[in-house]
């Protein structure tokens, strides 16, 4: 059997060699499809790496708790982006924050309730300012650096606020804005601190802290009827205890919520980053579009194989008359199309990598070729070869030897 397969492989290679031009062109069709997939995957991989390198420096001991509205993963990711600042009903409460903070080996716990609202500075109204309601632990978790003043602290009075760097510069006239006041939702707030510029302003919290006004969540809950907690950041004392804490969070929260599992606990670095998950959706869509060109390439292969089958009707008849079975003929033609598409795949991989490299010269990130991309492309080209080669091969195998021998071209 192995010998026969080997023979068929050689037969297929021989007959492809005889039609070099045709072989090259139909392989090129596959190559373009594969190249675009490689290009997209390697570039998004590069972007992802860049994001993760920026945001996950010391996040191995970080755990996120997010509300879950009983939707599937993709929907909830999209939901996170579209409804971040809208008041959909969150399943997390301040009670939950307390419950989590009591779990063993949890070093700090900070809820995040972000919203966009207007504030009044003196007589001037500033529209759509990101208001982030959280607690004092937030500074430890995100490791914020202060330009001026101090962060929220339980010893202070409640109606204080910390400004992001950009909003301080744009709306409060510089970073020396301590002791300035503003009005939000009918309450007067005193600025006690200004943050330094942050390297990765949008991180796993999904909020641009440079543009945000940070206020105390306990105080906010006194004048806002229902505070919407989008996320609870939890930092463990040690990296080892992350798994244990995750389990305890599940257990404790279910207890207080009467067994409702309407929340998710996230620990892996990629999932933490909302931008990363959006990127994976976008790259998935792009790959889908690119695979259309792969289908076109596959149809090209099928077309060529059909031409080849009818061109070689007589050869098929001769082979059958000297002892080839239908299976032999099927394998010979199937191997041809598989070789076509796999060599197209290899060519496409090289083209895609070169393309990604050229593009990366103009962008800040390097293309990232992972073993997954290699496996995906080889699997895809093998599948295309079989999928689009099987019909012509069956057609060849089913030819009647007597009529094939009478065939003149």
């Amino acid at each position: 059997m192995a010998l026969l397969l080997n023979t068929h492989l050689h037969l297929a290679i021989d007959s492809l060699r005889r039609n070099r031009g045709r072989t090259f062109l139909s392989a090129l069709g596959i190559a373009i499809g594969v190249a675009s997939i490689v290009l997209i995957l390697s570039l998004t991989g590069g972007i992802n790496q860049l994001i993760n390198a920026n945001s996950d420096r010391n996040n191995a001991d970080l755990i996120l708790v997010r509300p879950l509205a009983g939707k599937n993963a993709t929907e909830s990711i999209i939901d996170e982006f579209t409804s971040n600042n809208q008041f959909t009903k969150s399943s997390l409460t301040l009670e939950d924050v307390k419950t989590i903070s009591k779990i063993e080996k949890v070093s700090s716990t900070a809820p995040i309730a972000a919203s966009t609202n207007a504030i009044k500075i003196g007589n001037r109204t500033v529209q759509s300012v990101d208001i982030v309601a959280t607690n004092a632990d937030f500074a430890n978790i995100v490791s914020l650096r202060l330009k001026n003043g101090q962060f929220l602290e339980s010893s202070l009075r409640k109606n204080v606020a910390v400004l992001g760097y950009d909003i301080a510069m744009q709306q409060f006239g510089g970073t020396e804005s301590l002791a300035k006041t503003f009005n939000y939702n009918g309450q007067n707030f005193l600025v006690v601190g200004v943050l330094d510029k942050i390297d990765d302003p949008v991180n796993y919290n999904g909020v641009n802290l440079d543009d945000s006004v940070i206020i105390d969540i306990d105080f906010a809950s006194t004048f806002e009827s229902s505070i919407q907690i989008q996320q609870i950041d939890v930092r463990a004392e040690t990296t080892d205890s992350v798994t244990a804490i995750t389990e305890s969070i599940h257990k404790e929260l279910s207890k207080t919520k009467n067994g409702d599992q309407n929340f998710s606990v996230i620990t892996s670095a990629e999932d933490m980053h909302p931008a990363g998950s959006l990127l994976s959706i976008v790259s998935g869509m792009l790959t889908l579009v690119a695979s259309i060109s792969l289908i076109v390439g596959g149809i090209g292969v099928m077309n060529i194989m059909l031409v080849s089958v009818s061109e070689r009707t007589r050869e098929i008849g001769i082979r059958k008359s000297v002892g080839a079975s239908s299976g032999n003929i099927l394998l010979q033609f199937l191997f041809e199309s598989i070789i076509l598409s796999i060599s197209g795949g290899i060519l496409g991989f090289i083209l895609g990598y070169i393309g990604a490299f050229i593009i990366s010269l103009m962008t800040p990130f390097a293309p990232h070729i992972s073993w997954q991309i290699i496996i995906i492309t080889s699997a895809v080209s093998l599948t295309v070869g079989i999928l689009f080669g099987i019909y012509p091969a069956i057609k060849a195998a089913n030819k009647d030897p007597i009529t094939s021998l009478k065939y003149y071209r």
Binding site: L3, T7, R18, K320, S321, G323, A324, S325
Partner: protein, 310 residues
Amino acid sequence: MPKEKNEIIIELKAVTKRYGFGDAESFALHNFDLTVKRGEFIMIMGPSGCGKTTLLNIIGLLDRPTSGQYLLNDKSVDHISSRKKAQFRANEIGFIFQNFNLIPNLSVIENVSLPLIYSGHHKTRRLKKADEILERFHLREREYYMPYQLSGGQQQRVAIARSLISKPSIILADEPTGNLDSRSSHIIMEELRDIHAQGNTIIMVTHNPSLTTYATRVINMLDGEIDTDIKTVDDSELPRPGSPERISVRILSKKRPVELEVDSKTKVVVSGEHVTIGDSNSIDAVTKPKPKKKLAKKPRKKIKPEKKEP
């Protein structure tokens, strides 16, 4: 296993091949009985459309009869799978066609070795066997020619070599000389006669009555039935494998003597019109071609490395 003399290879019993139904019904073969013994050279003649080719296709397992029984080497092949049939075609049956049917983009040696692919031989073994058989057909120098570079007669000899390569029990020839001029036909018929003399069984379809002299049995067909069936050679005189080889020599050049070693002792030398048969040692001296005078070569000077004087 020693094969019995005049063993029956093919037995057709009441084989019928029908095309169409009802009013359009026609019989290519009608209750056809045929028994073929090892070593027979059968010529099948008859007008066009009398079912000769259909008969060959059924015997060659390319076509299946509508009804009737077919025994090949005492085994029924009526209800075997198409894969098994393909195996039979690869090992037991050799085809020779009117239009040669060589694969145009394969070289001669690849064409000849084609059946061995499907009986499962390694490439080196395939090529070696093909090389051996091509030598027998005086085509060794043409091994790597493509079919279109050969004359019709040569192509048909390649096709005959292909049909013989897997040592089949039967060779089916469908008008092998139909596309050839009389000189080439003669050569092809001589080849077939040689093959037959070596104990092969041949069934040949032809339109040319003058070729029947080669046959041991002539069958005339009419409307799918046997009209006449004449045996010209008694069954006991049929050649069988292992019978002493008939040696045929085609003298291509009259200038150079041709030597043939029959066995370790006997040698035949054909020189011009003289034929000498004798002990291999005694006639050795007579036939050895004179050694060619070597071209006087200038003795090459040996270049000695020059010694540098200090």
